[in-house]
Amino acid sequence: MAILGSINPLLTVGLDGDNAWRLADYVKRGGYTALRGILAEKVPPGVVVDKVKKSVLRGRGGAGFPTGLKWSFMPNYLPVEKYVVCNSDEGEPGTFKDRDILRFNPHAVIEGMVIAGYAVGASRGYNYIHGEIWEVYKRFEEALDEARAAGLIGKDIQGSGFDFELFAHHGYGAYICGEESALLNSIEGKKGQPRFKPPFPASFGLYGKPTTINNTETFASVPFVLNIGPEAYLEAGKPNNGGTKLFSVSGHVNRPGNYEVPLGTPFSTLLEMAGGVRGGRQLKACIPGGSSAPVLPAQVVMDCTMDYDSISKAGSMLGSGAVIVMDETTCMVKALERLSYFYYEESCGQCTPCREGTNWLYQIIHRIEHGLGRPDDLDLLRSVTTNIMGRTICALGDAASMPVQSFIKHFQDEFAYHIEHKKCLVPPEIQRAGSGFFKATF
């Protein structure tokens, strides 16, 4: 069980038993009442969309786009096949919440997707599951079988005349498929390369048909929005940031894991729930929203509350809610080197600024880390990032650039020291102790 704590939780209530993921357990917890209610009372789809809008449920995958608004873009009036797609291709370094939702509460995702299908007029859905979590994919398929056998997906659901088929699609290792249009291409059996937007998926999505695509946690939240009502859901968070959210806390904390807390919870509270910084050491920095979000120094992040607006005001992004904690044993150059390698490795190669630029970024940071940095390297890095940003089809180029800009901005001294002294400010043995692998103490 990797959901280690919560404050006023919704999504993770009652997930302690081994069978919590089963249909019977989900129903005992009140599962599928939202869907059954909508179908029995023939609630107009527009009313469902309005409720989701009113709750200010914002996309939990990273962008924080209002879910109800996204649903309202679907051309309900068009008599064509429409699709609902769930993005469970969770590969943003630091993020591991969707894996736990799918492991422990898969029926919440299924119910949310069926409700979305009803609301936007779709009759088919796919859940695209991250390649590396095969066991979770198999469990989700089992959950689908349960839902199908109980008449909760398929033809004429609960005798309502509403049809909705739902399937799981297993990824096979490509970070870029977390980008929605790359994910759609991937389902179509192509390389996962992003598409030009517009057109957006709501008009030209899967197989060229109108498609709504949301994150796993977003879909899983929908039944709770409807069960407690949009007003109560909004109040569970803070204005403009409705509800609770799962935060994946990783790195230098005593209890890394997932925590469900109301949006607007102070960062310091979350850090405390995660057992504080490992070994009682000093917090150095934190990436508050997954590796693509700008890093924040300790003194800045300690004053933040965990919601879209507060983190954005502090100069970063809440993103997927992946909180990567770094203590004083961390070499910021090495940390950035590893992140830059990741973006270089995962660039799909479609746009020149990103394909070439991510390589440049990695090569330059690599040479700084290895004592071969040149005096003008920091200016060169800044120049490469500004030549990538805004010049690519998708956001991967920006995602690769923002860590570079923010690391250099907040930890310029450490980079300068590396370049001048050809070694790290944090001694290697202290860095090594920080990881805890060899149980060394510091």
């Binding site: 590969g91 993020t95 591991f96």
Partner: protein, 157 residues
Amino acid sequence: MLSTESLQKIDREIAKYPPGQRQSAVMAALAIAQEELGWLPSEAIEFVGNYLEMTPIAAYEVANFYNMYNLKPVGKHKLTVCTNLPCMLSGGVDAAEYLKSKLGIEFNETTPDGKFTLKEGECMGACGDAPVMLVDNHRMCCCMQPEQIDKLLSELE
């Protein structure tokens, strides 16, 4: 080229997609082929392409794009270690170094007895359980400290 059992599995995948969209099953079909053959020789990729009524080059593009496909033969077991930042902060890189020294190989190499291939992985979405390793694409092993790694290596036949 592939067993009846594998073909049946592929057919089940094809059935998930609308009529005329057989190509959507290509990722699953390549994975199924790889499971049977251990890796994807170009004949297997071509076979899958033909089976799904897509050009062999389109199937090859897919096999080449996603990094869990083995385009070269691998050892009996493929161990993929995540060394990305969150894992690195909690010993992912140390775990990889430990494995390298135990197996006497570097990343992308196979032990002389053909038993293990070591790969460096990118984020597997399990950062809270670092160090994380994936065995043969299917089995995720969490919190891999030295003693757990030793145990895993002795378990794998």
